[in-house]
């Protein structure tokens, strides 16, 4: 295959795909009303789940099984990243030795910001049923604090044992809450095993805040484990 055809093939493919996109784009008119599924969620969410944020109600309760699958996929990713990188782990004594010191600004900034970031992460996942946000976003924010700590001190080591303990106990509690829903309420992951509370307050919407806190811990632990696996291989030689 010569050079010009090699260059032409992607362009032709993209041109075809682009014309498909153009047809979709030109023929698109936004809906005037919600479709049946969406209007069911819009009108029934408050009665059935007590959550202010409809997206949260869909993720945690209506499609809760999918979310369980999603955190499982994340867990698998973290496990595979750890497995793939395990062979090239740096020896403990040498790790991080080749780095320049990270500087006063980053070190002091980290010391100041990490508690605030962790607090903000917890705020985001505890308020998932009231405001935009939730377990996944909060977990990502928590993991960004870990990233900041790793940036300021690359030789720092986090206990893998602690991370995996947090991760697995959060996952186990999540499944147990789901099973309790089968016993005491309408089905797997039904949030009505706790009282729905008064609409709009922090302790409302049944177990949604609890489940989102667990998801936040689990996602934060998984992201942190991915980050530390990636970081610990950095200086392997």
């Amino acid at each position: 295959m010569n050079f010009t055809t090699r260059k032409a093939i992607p362009l032709v493919l993209l041109l075809l795909l682009g014309s498909v996109f153009y047809a979709l784009f030109a023929g698109y008119t936004p809906d005037e009303t919600l479709n049946r599924t969406a209007s069911y969620y819009a009108s029934q969410t408050v009665q059935e789940t007590g959550a202010q944020n409809v997206v949260t109600a869909i993720i945690v309760t209506y499609r809760g099984l999918d979310t369980l699958g999603e955190v499982t996929v994340l867990f698998l990713t973290a496990a595979i990243v750890g497995l793939v990188l395990a062979h090239s782990k740096a020896p403990k004594s040498r790790s991080g030795s080749g780095f320049l010191p990270s500087g006063e600004l980053l070190t002091t900034g980290t010391r100041m910001l990490v508690p605030v970031i962790l607090l903000f992460g917890a705020y985001v996942f505890l308020n998932g049923h009231l405001t935009p946000g939730g377990g996944f976003q909060g977990g990502a924010i928590v993991a960004s604090a870990i990233l900041l700590m790793l940036l300021s001190d690359p030789a720092q080591r986090f206990s893998h044992r602690l991370i995996s303990r947090i991760e697995s106990s959060a996952g186990l509690t999540y499944v147990i809450i789901g099973l309790l829903g089968m016993l005491f309420a309408g089905g797997f992951l039904d949030n009505r095993i706790l009282p729905l509370g008064s609409f709009g307050s922090i302790l409302s919407a049944g177990v949604i805040p609890l489940i989102y806190a667990l998801i936040g811990l689990k996602v934060g632990a998984e992201f942190s484990s991915i980050l530390t696996s990636l970081e610990e291989t950095e200086d392997a030689q």
Partner: protein
């Protein structure tokens, strides 16, 4: 051009750009970045499809519950995109880990150095 059309066009362009980058770049890191750009494009398109002109975000703090069905945008695509973002992050992390292993194996990130699967 309305807001929906603008974001749809942006999303489609990002998908095309990402795929173009993934098909033409020889460097594995650049291919991974291209994939994440295409991923972002897909998410933008999905959210744009769920937007209904003149409506508000599906959070019922100021919107009365009785009027919810006529005042909020479609929450389902937003829930889907939340899932897609998280899975996209997992895929990116995996790709980076494999890229690292490939670099350790060959000392290079140029895709044309890896000829085992070529025919």
């Amino acid at each position: 051009m309305s807001l929906v059309q603008l974001s749809l066009a942006t999303g489609f362009l990002l998908i095309l750009l990402g795929l173009y980058g993934a098909l033409t770049n020889r460097d594995i890191i650049r291919m991974i970045v291209s994939f994440t750009i295409a991923d972002t494009g897909v998410n933008v398109v999905l959210v744009a499809v769920g937007y209904l002109p003149g409506r508000e975000a599906p959070i019922l703090d100021t919107i009365p519950v009785a009027e919810a069905a006529s005042r909020i945008t479609d929450p389902v695509p937003q829930a889907l995109v939340l899932t897609a973002i998280v899975i996209g992050l997992g895929v990116t992390a995996l790709m980076l880990a494999y890229a690292y292993r490939l670099f350790r194996a060959r000392g290079s990130l140029d895709i044309s150095e890896f000829t085992e699967l070529k025919w």
